[in-house]
Amino acid sequence: MTIKEIQDEIVDEFSLFDDWMERYEYIIELGKKLPLIKEEYKTENNIIKGCQSKVWLQGEQQEDTIVFTADSDAILTKGIIAILIRAFSNQKAADILSADMDFIDEIGLKEHLSPTRANGLVSMIKNIKMYALAFEAKN
């Protein structure tokens, strides 16, 4: 599936919820299914700055795509990064770089997009795109 198709799928899932409570419960569920980063990659280098909770993110090249794994000490943050990973993992660097982020707004997480928001969603997106940029430059 393309990034856009996955994003639409996520938007569809979130449209089933009537209130924030259900939305957050779903985010918590997603957090539990996050593809976890290997312990050895939980290094100072892989910590995303600007988050109130700790977030580690690792991107690895597999053939012509990038596979992301992550972890966080806060469960909501895990859920949010799980959503990002679902959209951007196993994708080509060029596609990641050109992807837009409107779906975040559509699933009702727009408030998390403010640059000063403590969970650092903006920093997570930036880090994902940085990986893509680095892989594209290398190849």
Binding site: M21, Y24, I28, Q52, I75
Partner: protein, 404 residues
């Protein structure tokens, strides 16, 4: 006894709904809400007397100057400063501390020591570290115990003839501990050190008497005692302020300027370069009047009840641990719940209309001391109620159920 409903009616924001729920505002340690009289004072200044101060001979400029200087006198009375010119307007606590540390840059020598407490906010750590980098002075830390109290026996040992400055907050922002500042000031003076008291978290709860304390500097922010943001006070003893060079150059702070040599104005203007926050300064005086009308005895009584009730109710939650259990503390409860990140709780209870602070509270060394990423901090003001505490407890329990 306070008529809480009458008090609450003074604060228009408190009737708001947030995320569809009645607002429960427990982030008073970050900033307090503003009563209508303060909001009106700002509007009135712009509507009726807006003009630059200390400059014009025209009527509006005189009126604005009078109102600004009257506010300075109100604050002088409030903190019992000896002279009005010892009361300097700043943009807040951080500005006040930086003005002092900047001044000490020309006084301190390599090897001189600055004592800072383990309970400080970053704004009372970083400016002193920067000062140490500039001068070669050494920063030493007064340690605390697990209740969040500074250890006076250790403080006594740290003091020596090398100690030039002691800087400590009157009340800790992260834990609410009330520090024994009078003792610390007297001890510091015995070795000839100057003392700065960061009163940011104290002024909402008590009326500092700077002459009785005998501190050399006392700094605070206006917005934490119901005044406007971007206002604050640096109090300094006249002789201490006179020893410090000016912090910023510009208009207002000069006596005479030529390209060869400029001489500086007398206090307080020496430290008040440029056009200040005139509306804010005037409204800060209004805020101080308002707080005194409510009465600090009443404020303390109400906050003490909230602290006791809040502590007791929160402790009914399974796995809840309170950080900061000093015998002397203000209405701040910093807590965590076993196995749950404070950020998760904060995010969910926000959706239930409850405003608390989560995170490290700009006091990372304190969080490191307790080996935690942060806490949830509920900080109560005199306009809060026990019913609001009930809402907080219910919300935390609901979040706990969701997150467990």
């Amino acid at each position: 006894m306070l008529d809480i409903q009458k008090i609450r009616a003074d604060f228009p924001i408190l009737t708001q709904k947030v995320n569809g729920k009645p607002l429960v505002y427990f982030d008073n340690g970050a900033t307090t809400q503003k009563p209508q009289v303060v909001i009106d004072a700002i509007a009135k200044y712009y509507q009726e007397i807006n003009a630059n101060i200390h400059r014009g001979v025209h009527t509006l400029s005189q009126l604005a100057t009078d109102a600004y200087e009257e506010s300075r006198k109100k604050i002088q009375n409030h903190i019992n400063a000896k002279f009005a010119h010892e009361v300097l307007f700043t943009s807040g606590t951080t500005h006040g501390i930086n003005a002092v540390t900047n001044g000490f840059a020309s006084i301190l020598k390599p090897g001189d020591e600055i004592l800072v407490s383990a309970l400080e906010h970053h704004s009372n750590i970083v400016p002193w570290q920067m000062l140490c980098e500039r001068t070669g002075a050494i920063l030493r830390v007064i340690p605390m115990n697990t209740d969040g109290e500074l250890i006076m026996a250790e403080y006594d040992k740290l003091l020596s003839d090398k100690t030039k400055v002691v800087t400590v907050n009157h009340i800790s922002n992260a834990l609410g501990t009330i520090n024994p500042v009078k003792y610390m000031i007297d001890k510091a003076h015995e070795v000839g050190a100057a003392v700065l008291i960061d009163g940011a978290q104290a002024v909402p709860h008590l009326k500092p008497d700077v002459q009785e304390l005998d501190c050399d500097f006392y700094v605070f922010s206006g917005h934490k005692l119901c005044g406007p943001t971007g206002t604050g006070i640096l109090y300094g003893k006249e002789e201490c302020l006179n020893k410090l060079p000016p912090y910023q150059g510009g208009g207002e702070m000069i006596k005479e300027v030529t390209f060869e040599k400029t001489t500086y104005a007398e206090l307080p203007h020496k430290f008040e370069a440029g056009t200040p926050n005139i509306a804010g300064g005037i409204a800060l005086g209004t805020a101080v009047d308002y707080m005194n009308e409510v009465g600090f005895d009443n404020i303390q009584q109400q906050e003490k009840e909230l602290l006791e009730y809040g502590t007791q109710q929160l402790l009914t939650i399974e796995g809840l641990k309170i950080y900061g259990t000093a015998k002397e503390k203000t209405s701040v409860i910093s807590f965590n719940i076993d196995g749950i990140h404070p950020y998760d709780i904060g995010t969910i209870i926000d959706k239930l209309g409850i405003a608390v602070r989560t995170g490290h509270h700009c006091a990372q060394p304190i969080m490191n001391f307790f080996e935690i990423p942060g806490t949830i901090r509920a900080s109560f003001a005199f306009y809060n109620t026990k019913e609001e505490i009930d809402s907080l407890v219910a919300a935390v329990k609901r979040a706990q159920n969701m997150l467990a």
